[in-house]
Structure formats: structure tokens, C-alpha cells
Amino acid sequence: MSTGFFTDTTLCIGCKACEVACKQWNELPSDGYEFTGNSYDNTSQLSGTTWRHVAFVEQMHVEETTIDDRWLMMSDVCKHCTHAGCMEACPTGAIIRNEFDSVFVQPDICNGCGYCVVSCPFGVIDLVNVFNAEASGAYGLATLNDQRLDDKQTAVQATGGVAGKCTLCYDRQTLGMTPACAKACPTESIQFGNLEELRERANARVESLAKRGIEASLYGAGDVGGGIGALNAFFLLTDRPEAYNLPVEPVLPSTRQPAGYTAAALTAAGLAIAGWMIFRNA
């Protein structure tokens, strides 16, 4: 069965319960205590140890009589692409597609080369530094529970040095449980389930919002283009994707390979010809 997330931004209250629930369940460390000044967003982006990230977009128009301000919030996550750049780039086969159709990193096979990091069209996957339990102190990281290492198999449990991202709570799913973020969401902004059902629900939601005069669109429920296909974690947005820092035209790096190889071949041919021309006279 293909499962995924439908994240409806019109229901997101920006509470960040998803971020916390994800870190708690997956025993991920804090990324540091830095005040950014960027609205209420102090974790800034998805990382190897931040697998849900709530973006805050302030759209304030300080006119005195009419008030049409908006504060958009969106919980971002790994998209679990139909054609995943990270998976294609992985030279060791550490990144696989599991029985839930999710893109999953096997930390015991990953060698930490980082090719996946630059191959993700959405900037999701990242390397996790080697974790030093003693140096990080009692509060730097949630306890690494030995008994849970086998269940979880995440980059952090492998003590770092490898790539990390959302597993779509693979361990919870195998037990029939809802992923931690969706479970914690108080307003059902994050919905988990069978992808077909989620897509139907999302389309119906766009229609019902339209009846209330709210213009909304889906991002990733269908093919996003660029060779990526549909996203198993897709979004309902009320502004253009770039307002939420989502790429308008994401591209799978491998789709550029034919052109790249052709250019390389042509260059090689050109150089060969040039060499032949030069050395012919010698």
C-alpha cells in the first residue's frame, strides 16, 4: 500500500507540535539555540536532524482602515518523490523504496558520501554529523536507547556520519501506528493515510474552499514536472509555491543527464578533433 501525507496549510496553526513529536519519537537532537528574527521560525529549514519544519510567512499590509493581513504557516517535510533524486544518486544502494512506497535511508549501508544531498530538488536530505554522546552533554540529544536501535534504523541511531531525513515513521507504520507528526497535529493539518484516499480528499477540499471564496491549489498531488512525478507528501497552498519556499519548477537532476552526456560527448569529440588538427601538422 502507498501511504503518504496530505498537509493542508489552511488548517495549520503553526504550533510546531509536529516538529517536536517527530524529534521526540525519532530521538533527534536539537539543532542549536539560535534566535533568527525570521518570524516565529527559529529552526529555519529541514535538516538531517529536523524532519518536520514549520515555515512562517508574514504578509502584512499596514494600512489603517482595511485589514487583509495574512500569516501563512506550512509544515514542510520530505516529499517522498515518485522519482527521488536522492535515491538515484545514492551509489551504495542505501536509499530504497520500502513497502509503504516511502523513500527510506538505511543508515547501516550509507557511507556518508553526500551525493544525495545535492541531488534532492527540494533541499530536504542532509548529512548528520557524527554524534558524540559524551560531548553533547545530558540534554544535547534524546537518550540513545540501545533497544530501539534496531527498530528505528535512522541516521542518528547509527551515531551519525550518514544521511538523514524523514522515514515517514517506518517503525510506527509497521506497527500500524500513525506517524508521530500527524498523530500530534491538533487541527488535522497533517493527514496521514492511503495516498489514493488522500488525493481524493485533497481535491474535494480545494473545491469546498473555493465555495467559501478561498483560492487554494495542490502542490504535488499530481506530477510536479521535472521528471519527479507526484509527491507522496503533498500540500494544499493558498499562495504560489515560492511564497512557502517550495520550488516552482523542481527538476530531477538525472533528467539533465542526456543533455549533459551529449554536451560531454560533443566536447570530447571537439577536443579530439582539435587535437587531431593540432598534432596533424606536427
Binding site: 496553526i13 503553526g14 510546531k16 521526540q24 536539537s30 539555540y33 518570524s39 516565529y40 493581513d69 487541527t187
Partner: protein, 888 residues
């Protein structure tokens, strides 16, 4: 919560949280609902999905505003004008719910002829005594016939009937006035007023939700009164999707109030005996506290049952059930006066549990330096915090501090069993998941152990003064041998005692209607009677929800009623107001009240039952009087005498405000209480040195010490910050993310700047531009991952006259770019003239006075004005009104 209590009869939210989903419109004001109560907010979102209109009125555009259909900005502290404006709007347009108002409120009561309104006395009500600096409340009563019965005019034509008195009182609260005072654009205000009117009546209901944004003001009780009046006018109390939701900030705040952490209450909202009233014997006490009519006529049953629960077999009819064991009030012993007394060396010991006053109290430095004067401090907590470590704070000299500090490890919620009562008055049991770590114990363990030790210390004593401890019932040993071995008491035994039992058989009492005043029953908190109706049942454990009222999920006081005053969901004849808003109704066939909820009314009292003039208890009410706790069974639009600062709400500016009161000559609440002394310095009203409005709040990600240590939460809001709008930031050269220093007459704090258009500059009367600055309340500067100066350090102590709550939501301040100077040690003794210090024997700064007797209160306040009193507390009166010259 006397704002709700004096209006409706009970000091609790009138509705339960999931019922918000049934509202057609929700007005959220004085609350940042989505951020402070994100889980409860799901029901607001459900209402929105069902087509309800969500309105948010707030000084800041918050995450709640982002979810609302309509947002309106407001100058902090002006909510009485905003809501008063809506009252005026619905009265002027005759858009109130006429049948409801006529039948269920005191609109028809005639007010005494000698009552004079604020309109005619420049902002004061009649009865103001300049000499005594206080009110004589006699004129705030109703006209009565020769038998003492209130005179009514059911036609609502008489100029002195409550409805018409209100028309006059609120006549100047016009949309123009709202714009001039609140800074709310007129169009936004009118839109909201119309939405409320449109979504009320037979077919539709509007719910209100508020939190500490309304309470923490020097006129806080009157803010809530204004909302209560409006909801009564719109006919929204006691009906599904209506009511007033008082949101509580912590899991068990409601429970703590119910079971009497407040100094002037005994469990179940019974009054604490007072040495200042004539309450020396049980008979005198009962005479003083029992109401002739309404539900409180039952007071003696609850008091005697409580004393039987406290003192067991030792309490007999012959010894007044040990009534004289109870301590008696000698003044205002609430938090702020006690802190002030501590600062002046009059408090010896201090237990701090589940709180961090060193970081979260107002006038933080006074609070921390007050702890230097203690002999001992006991703190029970999970973590090191700014309270227990006050002696090593910035600028302090530990070698000069003699306080002995005991720091005891607390068990977390998953490490102990027990109940919590949440905002819907819902009692929910939680089991223990794991044993507490190492030496940690539940709070219950600490107090059970302390009690046992005290009993052992006094064992064998024949001294009568030791009897209260020796006679105290103290048997809560756990049934589970594992817990018993660790000395953990049984929370269930405590709950069973609170529920109550028959003293002869030990059998559980099933309902509070079974409690008696002869000693045959014991109950530790009568409002909870029924939660454990027999030996095997604990309804707080019930976990069976449904799509209706979920009566089998948890247990709500009183009697498992979810919506209070729900008799009002039916018309006077007992029929639902409409099919759509059907909730509780009279079943003519069965001759009883029935519906989706437990009726908040005598089950078989027919709607046509006439009131018996002069009848006792509920006999004095008719079958159409839904507010059973009140003497007359009606919702109180006009409150006679029970509140100290007026029978109707009138707008006063906060003590520290940026403008003169545009409505009345009276600047601030004449009855507000303050300590004007060097270690509690105030900004003057309209002070050019402090030109900006300052408001405070909390954010979702942080609570306090509990969250500041959690890395996953600390990274989300890692530092104290200050929200300012871009216009002011440019003017002051403040960079987003950079440091700023915010100052008041009391001191300075530093924080990181968060520059945002969410803090909209307001334009008020005469084109004056008002900038509002917001600072969250979550931080402390000494410990944990998330740190920063506490905004409490900027807030001087002042109090509302009714509940002694501090004013920390609307203040004034100044701001500059850059960091503050290093701190020196706390305010030294020499700074406070001895004439302004409290002295021994006056355990509170207020001094001996009757809390319910404003005349007594003002006597002392006046004495202090004469500079001959030994305590430092003053009231703001006419004589104290800052003159414009001083202000400028």
C-alpha cells in the same frame, strides 16, 4: 472569577470546550487561543469548518488572528470600550434577544432612585466618599417594596429599570468613541458588532472565549462583566455553541481554584472565615455566608460536611464541628501583598511548588530580593530555576544572604497518579506510568509526609492549640503494596474523601443533594460529590466519548453538567428556542427536564411553577429562572453591591497609560490598589518618558521552566524577544534580530528584536499614533537552554480591587537599541522609608480590613494618605489623579 460569578452564579466557564464546535460565531478577545491552547483550538477550527465566523480582537496579529475570519486590532486595556460599544449597538438597534432578556435577566428590576451613574459623576458611581476614598455601595441596589422584594417593570419602560439605566450608561460608547479610544478602525468594529447580532437569537448562538488578556488588568473583573452583560443581552448563556469560555492556562488551574488554593476560599467556593466579619462561631459564620434564596441557601450542609471531612469524629455538633480550628483572615493574604510583606521581613517561610516566581512574577527583582529576608525557602521542582537559585542571580552577593534553601525533586505527571480539572470543569484521572526517578516524589507524597511528621511531633500533647493538627483526618495510605512501601499516598482515597461519605457507614455519598448539616455526611469538596458515587466507581476515569455531549468522558462539576445554566436553552415554557439549538427541554409527558446534557435545574420542577415570595432556597425561584445559584434566579445585567468598583462596567485607563481617559474625568479605576514606594516605582500616567504601550503574553513553544530545559522546545523559541513594528524600529534604529533594551520606571530588560507588521500602529483620538510593544513572559535569565531577561522585571505591582490580580497586560515603556547595563544587587533596605514598609502583625500590605467591606478598606487607604499609617499600600483615588502638567 467574580466577573462570571456575580453575573451568572458560578465562577467558572459556562460551557465546555468541545461545544465551541457548535457555535455559529466565536469572539476571541483577551486570549491568544491558538497559541496558548492549541489543542482546545481544534474545536474552534471545527466550528470554522462547519461555517462559523471566527473573530479575533487583540493588540497583536497572532497565530489566532491568522486563523480568524475577522481580525481587529485594539489598544491594550480598552476592551470595556470595545464591548461596551457593542452593547450600545445592540441596544440602540434593538437587536438584543428580547424574550431571553425579559425572562432570564434582571433587565426589569428597578434601580434605586438615588443611584447615580458615571455619566453624571465624571466617571464615578454614586456613593463615592472623597473623605474615605471609597464607595458606599448602598445606592447600587434595587428598589424594594415594604417586604424587601425587588420592584419590577416587566414592560421595560420605566426609566430606572436596569435595561434603560444601561442604555444611558453606554450611550457614549459609540463606534466613533471605539475608534478614538481603542484605535480599532470603525469599519472593523461595526462589522464585528453586526456579526454578533446576526449570530444570536433563537436560531443561532455566539460563543466568547477569553483568558488572562482580560483578567490581568486593574479593571479586569469589569472586562469580564462587560462580556457577561453582552452575552446575556444576546441570549447566549446556557445554550449550545454559546456561553463564555474562560480559558485556563495550565492543566489544573481550574482544579486548584475549586479545591481552594486561593487564600480567601475553602474547597467548593465556600468563604474562608474572617476575623474582620462577625464569624467567631459556626452559627455566626453560617449566618454571614448563607444566602436566603438560591442554591447557596444550602451552604450549612456543605460547610458541616467539609468540617467532618477535615476533623472526622472529633467534629461534633456540640463543639461546632471544630469550626474554631479554621484559621481566620485578618486582611488580604493574596500573593502580591504577601510578597510585599516578605520584602519587608514579615514572612518567615515560603513553599514554592510548580511555579517559578523568581522569573514569572511581576516586579521580579522585588520578588527575588524578598526571598533574601526569609528564614527558609522550600522549592519542589524538576529543575534548577530562578526561584531556588535567587541567591546567585546577577548582582546578588550570596555571602550576605542567610535564607536556608531546600530544593526537593518533584515527580513528573507520568510518574504519579491523580486528577486534574481542566478549563471545562472536567475532572480527569491519570494513572502513573513509571516510578519517579531516584528520590523524586509526587507533591501529594510531600504533603502527606509533612502532615504525618507534624502529627508525630504533636503526639501526646494536651495543649488545646495543638488539637487542629492532632484531630486532622490523615489516612491516605495506598492499597498497592509497592506504593505503600514507598510511602506514596493514594490519590483515589483523597478523591473519595472529596466526593464525600456517610459518617456512620463509610458508604460514598451519591450526590451533593444528599449532604446534610447534622454531621451525618462528610465531603471535602461538595461540588465534586458524585464523581465517586460508590466504592467501585471513579467517573473521572470514564473514557467513552460520543458525538453529542460525551457525558461518559471524565466527569464535570457540578453533577456532571457540561453546559451551565442550560435551563436557558429552552424558552420560558420549557420548549427549545429552536430545533437547531435544542439542548435541554421539559418533557411534558414524563413531567421532567431532559435533553443531551444533565439539566442544571431541579429535575421535576415544571416551567410553570410560580416563585413563592419570600421562599427559601429554590422555592423563591419560578420554573423559568435558570440561574439557580443567584438569589433571584436571573442573569445579572446590573450587579448590586457585590463588586467593589461598580454595578456596571465603566472604562478606566490602565494605571500606567499613554493617554488621558477620553470617556471620563476619572483616569484609572478609583478602587485600584497600589504600593507607591521606591522598590515598586510606577510610570506616571501619560509620561513622555514612557510613550509606548507594553503588553505581555506567552508563546506556544514555551511555558516556563518546564519547557526551557527541553531541547526540542528551546530550539523553537530560544531567547527572550520583543515584538515591535517596522515604523518604530526605523525611528529607533533597531535592527531585526538585534538587541534592544526596554525600560520602565522600575528597571530595564534586554531582549532580541523581532520587527514585524503584526504589531500594527494604531491611530486614536486627535490623530495620535500609538505604538504597541509585545514581550513574551516565558523567560528567565539564570538557567536552562532558552533564556533571557524576564519581562516581570519591568512591571510594578498593582491590583484590581476585587480579586487582587496584577496588571501586566497593559503598561507603558520606552525602548532603545542595544543591551542593558549590568545589574547590581536588589533594592536595598534604605531605599524604602520605614513609614512605607509593612510591619509585623499586618501580614499583608493591605492591612486589617474586611475584604467585602469597601468602607473598611478605604479607611485604611485614607489613613495612609495621611502619611501616618505604617503600611505602604494606597488606592488610586480622585486625589491621586495625575494632573496633565505632571503627566506631560
Amino acid at each position: 472569577m467574580p466577573g462570571l460569578g456575580t453575573s451568572f452564579g458560578r465562577g467558572g466557564a459556562t460551557v465546555w470546550v468541545p461545544d465551541l464546535a457548535h457555535a455559529d460565531c466565536i469572539l476571541i478577545e483577551g486570549s491568544n487561543f491558538a497559541e496558548a491552547h492549541p489543542v482546545a483550538f481544534r474545536f474552534v477550527m471545527q466550528a470554522k469548518e462547519r461555517g462559523a465566523t471566527i473573530i479575533h480582537v487583540d493588540p497583536r496579529f497572532t497565530r489566532t488572528s491568522a486563523m480568524a475570519d475577522v481580525y481587529a486590532p485594539i489598544r491594550s486595556g480598552t476592551d470595556i470600550v470595545f464591548l461596551g460599544g457593542i452593547i450600545n449597538h445592540v441596544l440602540a438597534n434593538e437587536s438584543y434577544f428580547k424574550e431571553y432578556v425579559a425572562a432570564y435577566t434582571n433587565a426589569a428590576h428597578l434601580v434605586r432612585e438615588d443611584f447615580v451613574d458615571t455619566e453624571d459623576l465624571h466617571g464615578l458611581f454614586s456613593g463615592w466618599d472623597e473623605e474615605k476614598n471609597g464607595y458606599d455601595v448602598a445606592t447600587w441596589d434595587f428598589e424594594r417594596d415594604e417586604h424587601g422584594a425587588v420592584v419590577n417593570d416587566p414592560t421595560l419602560q420605566h426609566p430606572r429599570c436596569v435595561l434603560n439605566v444601561m442604555r444611558g450608561h453606554f450611550a457614549r460608547y459609540t463606534p466613533e468613541m471605539v475608534e478614538d479610544v481603542c484605535g480599532t478602525p470603525r469599519a472593523s468594529f461595526l462589522k464585528i458588532a453586526e456579526l454578533l447580532a446576526k449570530n444570536s437569537g433563537r436560531e443561532r448562538t455566539t460563543a466568547f472565549a477569553y483568558a488572562v488578556g482580560w483578567t490581568q488588568h486593574t479593571a479586569g473583573v469589569q472586562f469580564i462583566r462587560t462580556a457577561a452583560i453582552l452575552q446575556l443581552l444576546l441570549g447566549n448563556i446556557g445554550r449550545p455553541g454559546g456561553g463564555i469560555m474562560a480559558l485556563r492556562g495550565h492543566a489544573n488551574i481550574q482544579g486548584a481554584t475549586d479545591i481552594a488554593t486561593l487564600y480567601d476560599l475553602l474547597p467548593g467556593y465556600l468563604a474562608m472565615p474572617s476575623a474582620l466579619r462577625n464569624e467567631q462561631t459556626l452559627e455566626q459564620y453560617l449566618k454571614s455566608t448563607t444566602k436566603p434564596s438560591g442554591w447557596w441557601a444550602n451552604t450549612p450542609k456543605y460547610v458541616v460536611s467539609l468540617l467532618k471531612a477535615f476533623y472526622g469524629d472529633a467534629a461534633t455538633k456540640d463543639n461546632d464541628f471544630c469550626y474554631d480550628y479554621l484559621p481566620q483572615l485578618t486582611g488580604d493574604h493574596s500573593t502580591l501583598p504577601t510578597t510585599m510583606a516578605m520584602k519587608d521581613g514579615n514572612v518567615k517561610g515560603y513553599f514554592v511548588i510548580g511555579q517559578n516566581p523568581g522569573a514569572s512574577s511581576q516586579n521580579g527583582e522585588l520578588t527575588r530580593s524578598a526571598m533574601e529576608r526569609l528564614d527558609w525557602l522550600v522549592n519542589i521542582d524538576f529543575y534548577d530555576n530562578e526561584t531556588v537559585s535567587f541567591w546567585k542571580r546577577e548582582g546578588a552577593d550570596p555571602s550576605k544572604i542567610a535564607t536556608e534553601v531546600f530544593f526537593l525533586p518533584a515527580a513528573t505527571v507520568v510518574e504519579k497518579e491523580g486528577t486534574m480539572v481542566q478549563t471545562s470543569r472536567l475532572l480527569q484521572w491519570h494513572d502513573k506510568a513509571i516510578d519517579p526517578a531516584r528520590d523524586s516524589h509526587s507533591d501529594l507524597w510531600y504533603f502527606y509526609d509533612l502532615g504525618k511528621r507534624l502529627k508525630a511531633l504533636y503526639a501526646g500533647s494536651n495543649d488545646p492549640k495543638d488539637r487542629p493538627i492532632l484531630d486532622m483526618t490523615w489516612e491516605y495510605d495506598h492499597d498497592d503494596p509497592h506504593e505503600r512501601a514507598k510511602g506514596e499516598p493514594s490519590a483515589l482515597r483523597v478523591l473519595r474523601e472529596i466526593n464525600g461519605f456517610y459518617t456512620a457507614t463509610g458508604e460514598q455519598v451519591k450526590a451533593f443533594t444528599d449532604l446534610a448539616d447534622d454531621g451525618s455526611t462528610a465531603a471535602g469538596g461538595w461540588i465534586f460529590t458524585g464523581v465517586c458515587p460508590d466504592e467501585h466507581t471513579n467517573h473521572a476515569r470514564s473514557r467513552s466519548g460520543d458525538d453529542s455531549t460525551s457525558l461518559n468522558w471524565g466527569w464535570a462539576w457540578p453533577a456532571n453538567r457540561r453546559t451551565l445554566y442550560n435551563r436557558a436553552s429552552a424558552d420560558p415554557d420549557g420548549k427549545p428556542w429552536s430545533e437547531r439549538k435544542k439542548y435541554v427541554w421539559w418533557d411534558e409527558e414524563k413531567r421532567e427536564w431532559t435533553g443531551y446534557d444533565v439539566p442544571d435545574f431541579p429535575k421535576t420542577k415544571a416551567p410553570a411553577t410560580p416563585a413563592i415570595p419570600g421562599g427559601k432556597g429554590l422555592d423563591a425561584h419560578s420554573g423559568a429562572d435558570p440561574f439557580i445559584m443567584n438569589v433571584d434566579g436571573k442573569g445579572q445585567l446590573f450587579v448590586s453591591g457585590a463588586l467593589k468598583d461598580g454595578p456596571l462596567p465603566a472604562h478606566y485607563e490602565p494605571l500606567q497609560s499613554v493617554v488621558r481617559n477620553p470617556l471620563y474625568e476619572q483616569q484609572s479605576n478609583p478602587m485600584l490598589r497600589q504600593w507607591d514606594r521606591p522598590d515598586n516605582a510606577y510610570n506616571k500616567a501619560v509620561d513622555a518618558a514612557y510613550p509606548y504601550v507594553l503588553t505581555t503574553y506567552r508563546v506556544t513553544e514555551m511555558s516556563g521552566i518546564m519547557t526551557r530545559y527541553v531541547p526540542w522546545l528551546a530550539e523553537l523559541q530560544p531567547a527572550a524577544f520583543c515584538e515591535i513594528n517596522p515604523e518604530l524600529a526605523v525611528e529607533k534604529g533597531i535592527k531585526n534580530g538585534g538587541w534592544v533594551t526596554i525600560s520602565t520606571a522600575l528597571g530595564e530588560m534586554e531582549a532580541r528584536a523581532l520587527v514585524s507588521g503584526r504589531l500594527r500602529p494604531l491611530r486614536i483620538a486627535k490623530g495620535q499614533r500609538v505604538h504597541q510593544i509585545g514581550i513574551p513572559y516565558n523567560y528567565g535569565s539564570q538557567v536552562a537552554f532558552a533564556r533571557g531577561d524576564s519581562v516581570g522585571d519591568l512591571i510594578a505591582l498593582s491590583m484590581d480591587p476585587n480579586v487582587s490580580i496584577h496588571e501586566s497586560k497593559s503598561l507603558t515603556c520606552n525602548i532603545r537599541a542595544g543591551r542593558r547595563a549590568p545589574r547590581h544587587s536588589g533594592v536595598v533596605d534604605a531605599d524604602v522609608p520605614s513609614s512605607e514598609r509593612t510591619t509585623m502583625g499586618q501580614s499583608s500590605a493591605l492591612g486589617p480590613e474586611d475584604l467585602r467591606d469597601p468602607a473598611a478598606l478605604t479607611h485604611h487607604a485614607r489613613a495612609n494618605d495621611g502619611k501616618d499609617a505604617s503600611h505602604g499600600m494606597r488606592q488610586m483615588g480622585q486625589g491621586d489623579r495625575p494632573s496633565p502638567e505632571k503627566g506631560a
